[in-house]
Symmetry: C2
Subunit: 332 residues, 2 copies
């Protein structure tokens, strides 16, 4: 269900021949008079979504609303779009389910914790980008995670998101039946992020598999939940198997993020910092300052790539314009 004729931005069409749209896969949507994006407190009849969001090229999502506000302030500075007087209002201020901020072509949205919470947000975000007729959108999840065999503070760019049995899939129940979806991510984008980390030289970044679980305590083999029926050895055996299968970090949203972005044609990457090495402990006992500085790393990495991509895009546009000027130049 690509947008019909007349939806595309003519200027972009001229500059980019292979522009890709954001897809929904729902034949019922076109028959709806209005679409209420309930958990954003936005809607097609109450808001001019193309005017509000039509220029979005980058979306950055993360669990914490505070972190997503901090990201928009950071990226505004990086892209020299900051206004000292700007307050960066929360676009979803009418609800406390998610927070959303925008500056120029960058949208920053919080998604809460766990697969169901990010899935609700992604359904409504994908519809928002579709209604707003956005094209060529790249999306990043920036988050925190537990690491395996890595120094705390290392950033992991996800190669594949795997489930608790280390398989790259998302099982989803639809009308009571289990459907299996692919959790592939864009490998080129992951490589570009790794290169950015090398350019920056500020912290360690690796590409590895990310295990996505349904629970933070028992689901991640922690020994410090309210319930625990296994031993320290059981935990270490499980985490060793995970490591041997290629898992380098563990979090709670990457699989559905990968699956839904793939279905909707969004170029996607997952960038999470590891707050601790799970083979050495379970509790987050580092100081607030240390944890805070770790949490800034994914945003620094993604911010750097966005800046780089915008610069490349600007010079490509300039070159196309130069070519057009040349072609249109009167022959003498």
């Amino acid at each position: 269900m690509a947008p019909g004729p007349g939806f595309s931005d003519e200027k972009n069409e001229t500059l980019c021949e292979s522009e890709s749209t954001v897809y929904v896969h729902n034949p019922h949507l076109d028959g709806m008079k209005d679409d209420v994006l309930y958990h954003f407190n936005l809607g097609t009849s109450t808001h001019n979504l193309p005017a509000m969001f039509g220029d979005v090229k980058f979306v950055c999502v993360g669990g914490s609303p505070w972190r997503m506000k901090s990201f928009i302030e950071y990226i505004a500075g990086e892209l020299s779009l900051e206004d000292p007087k700007a307050e960066y209002p929360n676009i979803c201020a009418g609800t406390d389910r998610y927070a959303m901020y925008k500056i120029g072509p960058v949208l920053s949205v919080s998604h809460g914790m766990g697969i169901p919470s990010i899935a609700i947000m992604l359904h409504e975000l994908i519809k928002l980008l579709y209604h707003a007729r956005c094209t060529d959108v790249t999306i990043f999840r920036i988050g925190t995670s537990g690491g395996l065999g890595l120094e705390p503070g290392t950033v992991v760019v996800t190669k594949q998101s795997v489930d608790a049995t280390f398989l790259p899939r998302l099982e989803q129940v639809i009308l009571g039946n289990t459907v299996v979806r692919s959790t592939d991510l864009d490998q080129g984008l992951a490589e570009e992020l790794l290169q950015c980390s090398k350019d920056l030289g500020q912290f360690e970044t690796v590409i590895g598999n990310t295990m996505c679980t349904m629970d933070f305590y028992e689901g991640q083999a922690r020994l410090d939940g309210a319930f625990c029926s296994y031993t320290e050895k059981d935990k270490q055996d499980y985490l060793t198997k995970a490591y041997e299968s290629g898992v380098r970090n563990i979090e709670m949203e990457s699989s559905v993020f990968a699956a839904m972005c793939k279905l909707s044609g969004l170029k996607a990457a997952v960038v999470c910092v590891t707050l601790l090495d799970r083979q050495k402990g379970d509790q987050l006992i580092s100081s607030h300052e240390v944890l805070h500085s770790y949490q800034q790393r994914p945003q620094i990495l993604v911010g750097h790539l966005i800046k780089k991509m915008l610069q490349t895009s600007a010079s490509a546009s300039a070159s196309v314009l130069d070519k057009k000027t040349l072609l249109q130049a009167p022959t003498t």
Copy 2:
């Protein structure tokens, strides 16, 4: 792992012979020097949890932080504990993961959306109640839901929480293996809530099964998500089967809430208002005012029961004291 000797409150022991503690089932916890409740920004070495929370008898949880703040303001008024100058500070102000408020014996905590989000909160809440040596705690989830065959605004008190195949169970993955847990709730408490609704006479309340899903759109047979591969008839057939199995509403947290409360010895009830009849639609198109008034119903019902239970407990205490006075009266 009940608290050891010396943990229990002597006054309560005298008045209530069958006092029940909050259980954790984790042999590792006692060996830990500190316990950091990371997502609450609380901990055993940084906070005096018995002093802060030892008197808690009722916990009320719900998805939205705003609603849980509104609940504490409401219950303060109901119990005549309100202070016109009180600000009801967020006890978890150091984090944006959850919000927590307390007045007298009532604790109000937000849990976000979906099973993983509420499970993290419940692990830390159960440990908090355990560390604080709380006894005889009753817990309520107040929430919103989609209804089946009910007028919007009807409140459903959950009899059984069932999965997307209508079975009363929670499948949880621990160390890569699937464990099945019971989702039984306290039937006596559900009946008491139904009686409260009759006493109040303000809105319709029913007891019925609640289907707990992992997704709001495809997982609940909605036709308005970013993806939908089934027809209106498929949706209606599925919802009809759900209704015929006893399901009266659909939400996203009740199964793990029921399972974890049962494991920890917390007397628990799920009280959700239905915002729409899912057999008649998918979108929440009622006005903000109407939806807001519906959302107050679970808190009115639970508030009424808490008031009633506190009055009963006060008169029982008075009667025990009378009896003691009588027994201790000098015989002449």
